[in-house]
Symmetry: C2
Subunit: 166 residues, 2 copies
DNA sequence: GGATGAATACTCGGATATTTATTGTCCGAGTCATCCTGG
DNA sequence: CCAGGATGACTCGGACAATAAATATCCGAGTATTCATCC
């Protein structure tokens, strides 16, 4: 099992977008260059975030992406579900209904114990993701990174930020 | 992302092995037939459980597998890790070190905020899995399944159980 | 009849194909800024 | 000099390959049983 790598990319990009002035945008090309990523592939993930209504796209020259909600209202779960899909980690194949002693789906209505147990763990995972937002990520970044590094970064990004269209 | 299907198989098989008399074994072939699964592929997963010291194999005719620990001491996490591997769900690629403003791995020692956040969720998942055992699964099965269904099942299994070697 | 030995059938174990999911890339549709032309 | 329109460059969006992982299978190594043979 392997969690989609695009989740890390998406979170980093959202953290960058979170630092932009209100209404300003940044294109895929810049985001990819900043993080040293493949532009084409990053585009795929940003598209997923766009479909999930976490960011919105502005087409045409000087266009790009920008956040569609306040950073405090974008949880890690939103990002994970947007990029990786809504399905739970564990998918029960209901093998208890197979074989010579398999139960009858019509009479056994309650979910199987294994399914429920795995779902419980799944819920714990999702609850943890839901309790953390992009705002937390950004806040933590500011606390753990030295000032010169941050200044360099902000300068680079600011030079490539595209203000809200007039 | 997709969680290994073998986990469901392994859990069901462990639940069956848990019902066997002390020291008795059951071969892959029987376990596969009982659950309506591919024998060859199930063998692969049982092997993983064997490598993880959750079950042990008895070779030769009338051989098979049996539990190596009490059911209360086999957690769902043990099974997941045995079959799916020990790696966490999220693997940080440290893309914060990439790109023109990438930090220096030597000076930035603390883990990145995104990594830590995802690890926190990972821990919640694992904690939940660790808190549940095969014993819980078996107990729940007995409570939610009607008596005739259970009897049929136990009879089928008992006829194919191989007692501890004399 | 009992013990001994070889043959045998059955088990697990790891190495090997096939299918599915993830990763990575490309080109077309649409849009806004720019530039050119005319008033 | 200003307004309008055509042009063009840049953006996203979805369709299309390449790679890695999960799924499925097969055959060999080893062992306890079984059967035949000999004492």
């Amino acid at each position: 099992m392997k969690l989609n790598e695009g989740i890390e990319w998406g979170l980093h990009c959202l953290a960058v977008l979170a630092g932009l002035p209100s209404g300003a945008t940044m294109p895929t090309k810049t985001l990819a260059e900043f993080h040293g990523l493949s532009e084409s592939y990053l585009a795929k993930h940003l598209q997923a975030l766009s479909n999930a209504q976490l960011i919105e796209s502005v087409p045409g020259p000087r266009g790009g992406y920008r956040l569609l909600r306040p950073v405090e209202e974008i949880t890690l779960l939103d990002v994970v579900q947007a990029i990786d899909g809504p399905e739970p980690l564990f998918r029960c194949m209901d093998i208890r209904f197979q074989g010579p002693c398999g139960g009858d789906p019509k009479t056994e209505t309650s979910a199987c114990g294994i399914h429920r147990a795995m779902l419980r763990a799944d819920r714990a995972w999702r609850d943890s993701l839901r309790s953390q937002t992009i705002a937390d990520i950004v806040h933590q970044y500011k606390q753990t990174t030295n000032i010169s590094q941050r200044a360099k970064r902000e300068q680079w990004l600011e030079a490539r930020t595209r203000p809200a269209s007039r």
